[in-house]
Amino acid sequence: MPRRSIALSIWALAIAASLVVGPAAPAAPERTSAGTVVFIHDQEPPSLRGGWLDNNLLATGLVTNNIWYGGQIYDNAARLQPRLFESKPKLVKTSPQTVTFKYKASAVWSDGKPVTCDDWKATWKVFVNPQFNVVSRTGYQDIKSVTCSGKAGTIVFSTPYAAWESLVSGGVYAAHVVRGKDMNQMFNNSIPVSSGPWKFQSWQRGVQLTLVKNPRFKVGPAMKLDRVVFRYIVDTNARFQALKAGEGHVMEPQPQLQIADFLNDKDFKVQSSPEYAFEHIDIQLGPRGHTALRLPYVRQALITGINRKQIASALFKTIAPGLPTLENLVFKPFEKASYQRHFQKWAFNPSAAISVLKGKGCTGGPDEPSTSNSNIFSCPGVGRLSFRFSTTTGNQLRLLAFEIIQRDLKSVGIELIPRFQTAGVLFGSTLPSSDWDLMMFTYGGGPDSKITSSSLYSCPSNRGDQNYGNYCNGKATTAFNAALRELDLTKRNALLNRGDAQLAVDLPSIPLFVRPKWVISAANLSGPLLNTTSEGTPWNAATWQLK
């Protein structure tokens, strides 16, 4: 056989194999439309069953928040705004806590059935069913009864639940879809109905998920776009390149230096704002940590020896300039009404760090701060101030933060020994074991997550189920535990601030900075507004428009 024929045969074989083994093409070609927006995201949801053990992900919320639409949703100022509800739900009685709500008459599912209180009740039943692997039952498990009358409902709590408004306002499942079903197996690949502005159309696993306009959505502005397509691109660089190459219109990037490339690009608009997640260093006060850390003056030397302001600046000076130092472990700087700078008194002061150590009889350290110092303090009864510093491996920003912290503390006579571990080992084994000295990581959160401060900072034996640092102070515990059940927002915030003030005295943790969040959108797309809550950027997708 001539060589040319051999080559042609092999080519034909390759193409034929490609046809045979290729995934089935869509039954009909999808219509290319000027009204299609492509949202590039890094993570693909494992299923569309949000709030589940395997799926407590922003990626899922981005898709489902506009399908399981909320009675109220968080706007871009983190305020709850009525959507399916006629008005804000009402707290009609505090003992027992009783809340009423009512859906709009125009609130209907995409299959034509009305959205009613029965849907809320069915959702409650899902979340309290012990067979179903929801990630959290908080709030739902405090409900004693739900009484329905068509669109209206009355919820009675068995114990007061402070975050009732966001709980009641959340998106609900359709009762006629979920009742009697094994929810652990529902919505693995699709969602049959929608109460929001868009509905599910198709999902090509590993590539993209397509949502289309829900024509029955009448409670708010109808979607101007025909479709929103979520494209899943895992690689960071590829995501940025794809956006630049016009393969997508909008993305919510993680903190990455590539964002800087878009800041002065006229073809893109970049929005940035601090979000609720914050970086901090926990200090181990339990028996498996370094004995010295149980001494308040050592913790004071630590926090005053670290230039926290410089860390935020060094990490984000290009992509989020002016990021403030976090001075409160409960409230964030943008929560202006409640944000009190309790930790501000521990501003960077290396001379003061040395003074406090020497004042307590520690010896062997430097007389004044020096970057070339190699003398480490030893303190009476606790030995050398040499601490294990644990954090996740593979995170360049954390590595840089560690280098700054290590250098700062070395200059005041405190040594840090890096103990970098994979997230699986760090959070799975090391953190719960309490066998560490200092640990730097991020706590996520949202507008309501502050009420769960009790879980992090109350005594481990009294609701502090995730207090792995073993901090225990009666005043802080009382304040945080009371906040969990306080229904009055002003009083609740006062309690939380009282608890935080105590944290700033005891220093079980060092707040560093609130992480910034970004949205990059193509200039030809109008509408995207950064939303730092779990609603994500698509919270107002109904108003998006391609120019």
Binding site: N133, V135, R137, T210, A238, A242, A245, A423
Partner: protein, 324 residues
């Protein structure tokens, strides 16, 4: 031959079982699969307990291995740790995608490498030979991830300068890929850059082997005899030399193909291709040992099968090899 194949297959089963025991043990002791969950505020302990019970996470590793092995054999590799999602359908999907990528890349790489290798051998120490050698070493020395990133940057630069997107930089297909031949062409368009990256290293490597092998054969006695008998040079080269020179390449390609079917991890990650490599990376990131195990078993099987195929092919290509 048949008894040899049967014996090899039986050995393979033993190898697979041993590999699965080792890998399962390593994966199990490498960290807590529920680690990420444990820092979730207000985590439902009941839900966590459901998973622990369902997956027997409280049991010793040998017991857990037994449950996994049972699931793998009777329940198509079972389900994922937290979501209880069947593993096999996802594995099939990504295998098909990887097969497309690897098959096209390998076929093209072989064709090009054979051309370069044979030409280099026939024109030893010529300008072409020196050029091919230099380019091959460059190809071997170029990190795959770097080349992939550079190609992406190049394509984006061209787009920004000209407004023309010559190749997509990520994913397997367009938002609207169409169907039938449109779908195939769209897929081919998306695979151009990944295939190119995969090919570079393969071409560089294969062409060196072919060149060396051809030179050895061309200098052998039977080729000299063929020439002395007056056979045309083309016939000597193609019929007497080329066929024998292919033998080492068969070994190399077979082993490489088997390994690549486990996923061209770097290429699939950089280009976000939904293949075996990316599946493995995602399973690792999710701390889910069950898809990791399934991936490892499939990959190990592929390597064993291709090893066997190479050995069998040897018997046909080289008359001196006989299997008892």
């Amino acid at each position: 031959m048949l008894s040899y194949v049967v014996r090899r297959l039986l050995y393979s089963v033993v190898v697979l079982v041993a590999a699965s025991v080792l890998v399962f043990t390593f994966v199990s002791v490498s960290g807590d699969p529920l680690a990420q969950l444990r820092i979730t505020p207000n985590l439902s302990q009941q839900s966590v307990q459901n998973v622990i019970d369902r997956k027997h996470l409280d049991d010793p590793i040998p017991v857990r291995y037994w449950y996994w092995a049972k699931d793998a054999v009777t329940n198509e590799f079972g389900t994922t740790l937290l979501g209880d999602r069947p593993i096999l359908p996802d594995l099939w999907r990504v295998m098909k995608n990887t097969l497309q990528l690897v098959f096209i890349a390998e076929i093209l790489a072989i064709l090009i490498a054979v051309g370069i290798g044979v030409s280099s051998a026939l024109r030893q120490y010529s300008v072409f030979d020196y050029t091919a050698t230099t380019v091959s070493f460059l190809g071997l020395a170029t990190p795959v991830f770097w080349l992939a990133l550079m190609l992406q940057v190049l394509v984006v630069q061209i787009y920004e300068q000209t407004g023309h997107r010559i190749f997509p930089v990520a994913s397997l297909n367009s938002v609207d890929p169409g169907s039938g031949i449109h779908f195939v062409l769209d897929r081919a368009h998306h695979l151009v850059l990944p295939v190119l990256v995969l090919m570079v290293a393969s071409v560089a490597s294969y062409s060196r082997y072919i060149r060396a092998s051809m030179l050895e054969v061309l200098n052998s006695d039977y080729v000299r005899t063929a020439r002395a008998k007056g056979l045309p040079e083309g016939r000597v080269t193609m019929k007497h030399a080329f066929r024998n020179a292919l033998v080492p390449l068969v070994t190399l390609v077979g082993l490489s193909f088997g390994t690549l079917l486990g996923g061209a991890i770097v290429v699939e990650t950089v280009f976000s291709l939904d293949g075996m490599g990316l599946y493995f990376v995602n399973a690792l990131l999710a701390n889910d040992p069950y898809p990791v195990m399934a991936w490892l078993m499939v990959t190990a099987t592929m390597i064993i099968v291709f090893n066997l195929l190479v050995d069998i092919a040897y018997g046909y290509l080289d008359p001196r090899v006989r299997y008892e």
